[in-house]
Amino acid sequence: MAAEQKKTLPDIFVEGARKGWNVGVNSIVPNVLMAYVLIQVLRVSGVLDILGNVFNPVMALFGLPGKAAVVLIGSWMSMAGGAGVAASLYAANALDKTQVTILLPAIFLMGAQVQYMGRCLGTAGVNPRYYPVLFGISIFNAMIAMLVMRLFA
């Protein structure tokens, strides 16, 4: 404790910034890169357009184009991946600012479920019989968020 109090505020900031560096290098860079590669593969293969058409009717409910479904699928695997897909689609003019705003909270609310099944539910020791409900709640939250954000964005 005594040693802790000797630290100055700049020291503490640097400690936090170091954590930020580790998050950036170990999580954000690889996940965002994965998302950009995924979008590139989907785009040059023409699958992105097909997905866009398939999901158009559903995503229209939320004021989004069909391609936005890829953002949600990406975020389900990893939050940084979902954000990367959104940024990539924005850069390619497939999403506009309003649509990114609608998607933003949903990326987190249903984000990284595949990882958090182990890291959150597994670690806390939740009974696996509740997993489907827990997944459902998160996806429900994301859908409500998109409907609400449609009013604000």
Partner: protein, 218 residues
Amino acid sequence: MSEEKREFREPPKPLVPWTGYVAFVFAIIFFSGLLSSQKGWFIAFDFNTVAGTFGTMKDAAKATFMGQGGLGARDGFMFAISLVPSVMCALGVVEIIDHLGGLKAAQKLLSPLLRPLLGIPGITGLAMVTSFQSTDAGAGMTRMLRETECITEKEKTIFAAFQFSAGGTITNYLAIGAALFSFITIPIVVPLALMFVLKVVGANIMRFYLIWFAKKEN
């Protein structure tokens, strides 16, 4: 081990220094984005202003060091690198707020709300505030609360439902959401507030599901 147990059995009554409340209020203002459109000295207290902007390339007014028209892995890498400074800046400030007692203040203000809002005891306040920063640490503390019988199995499941949707809320939003902050149309605090509301909604769906489930089993 026995000491650790005792620590969890007694409801934590954190001593919050006055700097804690100041830091907590500062944190809300700093990360809210509400000051970003203002003019004057106080924009120094806005996250996006402090995180700053990259310089642009010659000629093209819009192009940053990432250049324009990039594609694929190379463009993704440049974009991801462009996110790292704001993540470092955000986590640096969060660390200071934590050091000044800002998170303890949040915990103290939060604890009395937990029973009415979520149906879980105030003792989960520390684990909850931790879960906003780190999914893994929050889940680990939740497990410990259950193992020391500070919470019931049912309360643990409700609490897990709260943590599972938008896990690591603050850290992830500030670190990863920063990728999109520059092109959203509203202050960054609005989506964050909505996420907190929906986390509570989701936990309550679990709460009522468990009641319904118990009735069905009997």
